[in-house]
Subunit: 80 residues, 2 copies
């Protein structure tokens, strides 16, 4: 996975999760340093509908498996 | 919420999430320093079935709202 490509994709995540991975809203989780496997699963589950959240379900829809892997690598790489 | 009471309850969380809030398994998230509101919502959603995970759904079932608030306060209080 390519963390730099993930950072580029993460511009659409930053309003809630920050480009630093520190949440900007009380009900959005911090992502900095989070387990990479967990992040891949979370994004995948939002995409399939296994996990539900109105906003996440919408933003995840256009992401490819590579996008998801890159985003997970990026947020995992950040210092919490 | 009472973080000390949360720490006592967290003995049942430690195999996966650690008493330090640092995940012990690749597919379990780190919880140390996580947003308190997010943690309350996650536990609540596992309890209602809005969010699904075989293990979490089982362990969350006996938790009261106070237990959930205390666990969220405890994990939020830890340094990531």
């Amino acid at each position: 996975a390519d963390a730099a490509a993930g950072r580029a994709k993460a511009v659409q995540c930053q309003a809630c999760h920050g480009l630093d991975g520190i949440s900007k809203l009380p009900d959005a989780p911090n992502l900095a340093g989070q387990n990479e496997d967990y992040l891949v699963k979370a994004l995948h589950d939002f995409k399939t509908g296994e996990r539900k959240n109105e906003l996440m379900s919408t933003v995840v829809k256009p992401l490819s498996d590579a996008d998801i892997a890159n985003l997970a690598a990026f947020y995992h790489s950040l210092k919490p």
